[in-house]
Symmetry: C2
Subunit: 314 residues, 2 copies
């Protein structure tokens, strides 16, 4: 095919152009937020489904019993202390010790967390929200120490997944399982309710190997402060997702979120799973030269999750 | 006098040695926190006095009526927009505009804020807490924009005022008057209750002109994380001082405090007054080569405040 045809094909397919020259542009979301009709069989309540559709996030508490929490926190501690047999490629360690800060591909490196990823309380909810079978686009264990926790500025994950990973539509959801208490002052997840309904085409070209720096501080693909301010005002203010260990936070792939730094002594840890609809598998990146590595975006062999019910065990 | 005598004199007088070589040392506070006996005439309630003595801080709400708040916030806006006739020495401006971020010597540059500084609701409370006539050691108007508010790490003000300004004893109190709402996520003041009772001798020598960088990020005179952690655990956790516009936060000169950054759209502004007891006037710095400039530490002509009652007017 000639260049023009190829260009037409690519641009015609792109419902969410971003990393554009000129000025930031806002457009309406072209996909549902909640992809299922609620019924009695749904894994969440009707109020919860409505809250998610309206606000772009949902906090579910007391999802696990004490034994299950013990399995999860002890496994997380073990991974943090050594990393076990996990290859260095999938780890980020603290600069001044062997302690592990992040374990990527968490579901491949830990039986307990693989089981968690498939649990009906996570994957079952994701299937319902996305109205499809789901697979893991990304999974990781995060540990953020006290005193020196860094802020993370407002962004839409979908903007990056679309631009740099080639995720076509807004049909993905993140689930964060808190492994420590997360209060108001140790950097809880902040969200702009309703922001999932607006796609912000961000200005600027994607630098090569952007992920090498963007995981620490995102510079391309972030909205203008004035835009965030207007959206927060429309929402009546920002929201925060706080909770005890075991709280699960679901948020839509396009919900604007971020977190403040943390000077308190209290660390934060969570297990983080991104579920994508099977029908929404990755194509070529929409606004980057090459795709990001597999530990950030599972493009090699997405497999539909078989959800599992019942108690988590070690 | 010979060197030994002079050394003896200086060290004998220093109840709170800091900026020391070797290891951080903790010692008991040698001064009262609350310097007055509470009586019916006190400007605060008995519970409030006890709370302050025990925790090292006190939050007082609804101190001003709507007219008074209007005077204060409008004056603050005016100062922020132009700075008026204030000499550049007493201003910090935003890097990318003429907007003013800080006005030092606030009481000298604004009639309304001078009147506020002398108000019985501030100076009268300070006199009671310190059991003495008081003067202004430092005063300033702070404006911290949203989105980009920087964190400020844990520190004791007294440690700096003693080391770098020559404040002999712990007989000073800060009063912060909120000029915007201050909620959990736009960087409220965080405090370690009870920390006022312990003096932490910090490690490290004071660099020359330390204040030129320490106002942005304090590197000398900050406690070790483990120490803060232990003190926070002893206190049953950190406290935060939040409130609506017009809330007044008093905190002892030695109470450990700090604040997280602020990625939210909501700015913070406050008027900040440090009251020192007349009997506690500055001497030579205890651990710095020369004193800090006058806008940070009023050493030229401390004058006892005559407290004023009644409504603030423009």
């Amino acid at each position: 095919m000639n260049i023009q045809t190829r260009h037409d094909m690519l641009t015609a397919q792109d419902e969410y152009p971003t990393r554009v020259p000129g000025e930031e542009r806002l457009s309406e979301r072209k996909d549902p937020v909640l992809w299922s009709e609620w019924s009695e069989d749904a894994p969440i309540g009707k109020d919860e489904a409505e809250h998610y559709a309206e606000n772009g996030y949902l906090v579910r508490r007391d999802m696990f019993d004490a034994d299950e929490l013990k399995v999860l926190t002890e496994t997380a501690d073990m991974l943090r202390e050594g990393g076990g047999d996990i290859p260095d490629n999938d780890l980020i360690r603290e600069p001044d010790s062997d302690a592990v800060r992040t374990v990527f591909r968490l579901d491949e490196h830990s039986k307990a967390f693989r089981r968690l990823a498939c649990d009906r309380r996570l994957a079952g909810v994701a299937e319902f929200l996305l109205g499809d079978e789901v697979y893991l686009h990304q999974s990781r264990l995060n540990y953020k120490p006290g005193f020196a926790g860094k802020e993370f500025y407002w962004h839409s994950d979908f903007e990056t997944w679309h631009a740099e990973d080639g995720m076509p539509r807004m049909r993905a959801v993140s689930a964060s399982v808190l492994l420590t208490p997360n209060g108001p002052h140790n950097g809880p997840l902040l969200l702009v309710p309703g922001s999932q309904d607006v796609f912000i085409s961000c200005v600027g070209e994607t630098p090569e190997d952007n992920h090498e720096t963007s995981l620490k501080e995102q510079k391309v693909g972030v909205p203008q402060p004035g835009t965030i301010d207007r959206m927060a005002q429309k929402a009546g203010g920002i929201a925060s997702a706080q909770g005890e260990t075991g709280t699960v936070i679901f948020f839509d792939c396009n919900t604007l979120h971020g977190s403040n730094g943390n000077i308190t002594p209290d660390p934060r840890a969570n297990a983080f799973f991104v579920y994508n609809a099977m029908s929404n598998a990755l194509t070529r990146p929409y606004a980057a030269r090459g795709p990001r590595p597999d530990f950030l975006a599972n493009r090699a062999a997405p497999q539909a999750i078989r959800t599992v019910s019942g108690k988590l065990t070690g």
